[in-house]
Amino acid sequence: MIARTRISTTHLALLAAVAIGTPLTSVAAQAKLDRSVQPKAGASPKLRVPTWTKTKLANGADLIVIEKHDLPLVSFTIDFVGGAANYEPADKAGLAGFTGQMLSEGTKTKSADQLSDAQQLLGTSINGSVGNESGAVRFTSLKDKFEPALALLTDMMLNSTFPDSALERIRGRTIVGLSQQRDQPNSIAANIFTKVTYGDEHPYGRIVTEKSVKAITRDDILAFHKTYFQPGRAVITVAGDIDPKTVKGIVEKALVAWPAGGSRPTFKYPAPPAAKARTIYLIDKPKAAQSVFTFGTPGPSRNTPDYYSIAVMNNLLGGLFQSRLNHDIREVKGFSYGVNSNFAFGRGPGAFRAGGGIVSAKSDSALMGFMTHFKGVQGEMPFTDDEMKQGKESLIQSLPGRFASVNGIGAAISSIYTQDLPENYYKDFSEKINAVTKADLVRVAKKYIDVDHMNMVIVGDRAAIEASLIKTGVAPIVLLDVDGKPVMVP
């Protein structure tokens, strides 16, 4: 109570200092405002790309340093190039993710609880994760907690003990999560789409299952850890309120026990399975209020020269709120709470996907709507000048938003090195986007949206929607169960 009173006084003092007297009691004399006049925008603000330094540690890891001093925060990340698709055995899907999680399960000198308590006392959280083509170990902390947090991270990355009991616990929790996913129409649609699009052989077709999770042993984890977390494929990024003169020494010293080794994967993948004629894969979800659509095909990799044209085209097809798909299917027709489209742009043939949740009774009309717009961007509905302007400006002027937080700025700059982008990527971005023409959009839409071979996954109430889907004549229907196995129709 005493504290509160004391602080209230401070609060009043601050109030007086901050709220400079600006209450306006009268309206400045002015002519009646013509509100139909849309204000003219001034000149676009100049893009301020942050500057950074790039050096190498003695063990070969890249070190990126970016200063940002407006708040006492530091973001520290070690990104690893490559992931499950490159280093995980095909029958052990989930191993990479498990290894990342298990960095929190105890080290040679600290129990898992001690690690957790130490992080909490520093007001930070250190996370390990390994995804399909990349991984990371990272934290964000207050500036004065940076060095102790870095010491904890190093301990977790290099000295983890991977206890058996923790593996069993994580396995058990994961299996509960997998069974809950079987209730989730969105998860079902995503898994079935992955299966029908990439098959079991392609690394992009692997999904974590109860069977694959049960196959993971502690030795697998030890081996994955040893192979994966190596400086030869690491990009270390420190962004925030740091002293550029001392930071390299601090990082070098913290990671002194991390020996050189490892290299980046080649990302050479087998071709996805041969394209099949357009098919609807229907998974029955009795009494579902909505049908979940996930339509698509394998797409181009991130390094395609068509990247900028695809970005603009997709923005207009299903990226923006006002994109053709969302405007028509949500706003005009009211069939959905939102539909969209995107390109995954992996190192390999990442998918083009379009979809959303559709009110069951309108599944057929929405299906036809999607087809109309796929064909529309391929030339049947020409792009307008205003669409072009919007499609480009929305990409160019949203770029500064990526530089607002220490995490954002770190991720924006490190992605240049983890994804092998040119160092002037952000500086040249607007020029590249502005060079895209309407003809480019039509060309890439035809090239990358393969409507004749599209996999159309629909999770919904079969009894309510199947007959009307057949009537659209869009594609034959194949019935699958939640695991992607064909359902025998009597």
């Binding site: 709220a19 400045a28 006492p72 007001g123 069974s179 209020a289 909505q290 709470y337 160019i396």
Partner: protein, 484 residues
Amino acid sequence: MMRRSYLTTPASVLTLALLCAAPSAAQKSASAAKGSDAVNIPFEKMTLANGLTVLLAPDHSVPQVTVDVWYHVGSKNELAGRTGFAHMFEHVMFTGSGHVPYGMHDRLTEGVGGNNNGSTTNDRTNYYETVPSNYLESALWLEADRMGYLLDKLDEAKFKAQRDIVQNERRQGVDNQPYGRAFELMDYGIYPDTHPYSWPVVGYMTDLQKAGVEDVKNFFRLYYAPANASIAIVGDFDMAQTKTLVNKYFSDIKAGAPITRPKVVAPVLAGEKRMTFEDRVQVPRLYLSWPSVGDDNDDTAPLQFLAQIISGPRTARLTKALVYDRQSAASVQAFNNDNENAGNFVINITPRPGTTLTQLEATTDSVLARLKQEGPSSEELAKTSAGLEFGFVSALQSNLGKANILLDGQVFHGEALDYKVQYAKLKAVTADDVKRVANKYLVPGRVVLSIVPLGKPELAASADKSTKVTVAPDGGHYIMGNKQ
């Protein structure tokens, strides 16, 4: 897509950010004091003659600016049988206004590299856009036009389209979502039928179908007036020029009539209310909910600590007991959902196979009993405090984060600087405070909700004492017991 959304558990998330959100005036340690000095939201305040409050906080680090408008109206201003209105109205606000054609709002925000959204809670509705700084005037023009002239262009067709979208939003977020009805069911259990917090923000399906365009017009005239609105402008702008623009676009909008706020009575449960709901899920889940207090009560700070000490990090008490030591649960979550005038303290637990909800409830109760008896340790307090301090500084990285912090104070406490008071309250929390609120609120009068797979009511916690709850045949509300 989560655009234009209602928030199901808004307060818990927002409050965490807010409570994290203030410099530590009482801080003694030198290093931390340095941190808290650096964190501040410098702003100026202007009040127009029509009652509109405007908070202006410059931050030139990125060439973008956020305009965030809060109207002090939410689902609690609705009436039973007419629910979902405040949120549906939020959607209508994006369909154009007197001088702004439909689509122009997105065109001048997202279409120029910005973004926009709105959200509705039980207590307030907000609208915001972040735009490149050269589009600030457009953003003010857009917000002023829908504040002053929305009804000029509203017709039946536009309204009906948005009503359909909101019904889809409900299907997607609640009806088609495993466990999606849990929060509605807990509120249904805790609050009496006509209580302003008893119905869901998104509304019941039958009520949504009944809503008409005349309802919209009346609602607008009552609540969307300058005197019931506050605006924060945060980011890359020029102070003097922006004040001129605010006057230009907002000063001639009429003030509006005085508003009668609903009387919100703190709910009291005489005893334990046990409910079973069958859902299309494979794994059952246990939800516990106690009436607690809202944003307007000093106990929210220790309740925030209590939630962090119960669940979250692996050494939090219930998480450690259930997820790590006994391994009987896959996940545990605890939070204090504090609305403006009332709140509830919620714990939900997903079991691992082999553990029943009955067992989970018993273990949970024994962990809570011990905490109530011994109170938290000084290390538990220190850990919670450090997390809140970091969260505060981190929230200041976003223009929208700062805008919401200022507006939460302005709208609910009549003072934008209130975050400093809230933070001081957090800093002052003691082990005794946490122990006291645990004993005061985690009492026998609570809702125990078991969500179980269809046809398996026997999986409920102490199933023989639990009453089945069903969705009414018209889909409109819930029915407890066998009233069919």
